[in-house]
Subunit: 187 residues, 2 copies
DNA sequence: CGCCGAGTTGAACTGAATCAAGAAACGTGG
DNA sequence: CCACGTTTCTTGATTCAGTTCAACTCGGCG
């Protein structure tokens, strides 16, 4: 059993047949830092899983680089709206570190969903998980101060702060890089 | 076929058996303005569909009332994180108008998911739809001005602005009520 | 060495919050 | 149907968090 199937199995138990079906359509990639998993204004045609490494989802808004999401080893990675709707999206996904990445294409996943009830369930649980993460992020942004958002990120993902350039963390938190620098200066 | 099943069928075609299974566990309610669909700090044990009417999802943050989501006829309503995790959440859901509401319990839905692959698929598509809506809302909040957010709400949901008290619209947009009043004053 | 991008620090500016009065709308009871 | 009180909305003055612009520092690297 590989790390990807293993991660999937933690959402819902998978039968031997289900695991093999999934294993037959997923692919392992060793990719360098800077590699672009999803290009902007294209359809995100696969979902990814980071066995090791680090990725960033971002877009350009009025010429400035806005970090939308950060994912590390053990996380799933996708340009989520593009993947679900199969429509182009402005978001790009790039690796911030050399990474070991698993991929499954939308097309293959649809076939598996149709063929295996248990994989359809897995898909539902994966999307549910994504929605919960997004809601937490949304709540944070809706009525917390910049300092409070930084504190929370420190508390929940302390390692990201070491590994991701500070300017990217700043736009992830929705503040200017100078502001984050000042927040940090006050312990 | 009732309005609820009809709305569900638009996500994915449902067999006669699937429709009947769903019909056997959903309930229609005529409820007054102000009725509380989901109480705060409790588990949201059902998902709702508004055949007619209007609802508001909100919570208290440092003693102030924060509107999280607004739903009108044709929308699904749920305290989403509480429903998915079956954990209590601070959010309440109340009706802003007398409404006709359909409900299905989490328990019944789980049984249907397990028994009907097509309903599991429906569940996946429902959650996916919710995630897309949330991402759009998130993007809006992440890097748009208060005025731009109001403009967008005007463009996408013009009727809400007539039907929802302005203070609730303000916190939905993430601004103080005075600020929204000033934004509106400038045409 | 000296360049270059990332981070820091400072000062001025600005969008929005806050605090504080009024004005308008609403609904409830007489 | 009107009078009154409550809630909602508006308007003004002030404050504040965070942005912007600009200069400077630091560490890595050709």
């Amino acid at each position: 059993m590989n790390a990807f199937i293993d991660a999937l199995s933690r959402f819902t138990p998978l039968s031997e047949a289900g695991q093999q079906a999934m294993a037959s359509v997923c692919h392992r990639h060793e990719l360098p830092k800077g590699y672009t998993l999803v290009q902007s204004d294209t359809v995100c045609s696969s979902i990814y899983y980071l066995e090791t490494g680090l990725s960033r989802t971002f877009y350009y808004k009025d010429g400035r680089d806005v970090t939308d999401w950060l994912s590390a080893e053990g996380d799933f990675v996708v340009s989520i709206v593009s993947f679900l709707t199969q429509q182009p999206d402005r978001r790009l996904v790039q690796l911030l570190e050399p990474s070991v990445v698993w991929s499954v294409s939308y097309r293959d996943l649809e076939i598996l969903y149709a063929g295996y009830h248990e994989l359809e369930r897995l898909g539902r649980l994966l999307v549910s998980h994504g929605l919960i993460l997004m809601q937490q992020r949304f709540d944070d942004l809706h009525f917390e101060s910049a300092a409070a958002r930084y504190e929370r990120l420190m508390a929940t993902h302390p390692t990201l702060i070491q590994r991701v350039p500070q300017g990217m963390i700043a736009s992830y938190l929705g503040v200017a890089p100078e502001t984050l620098s000042r927040i940090r200066a006050q312990h």
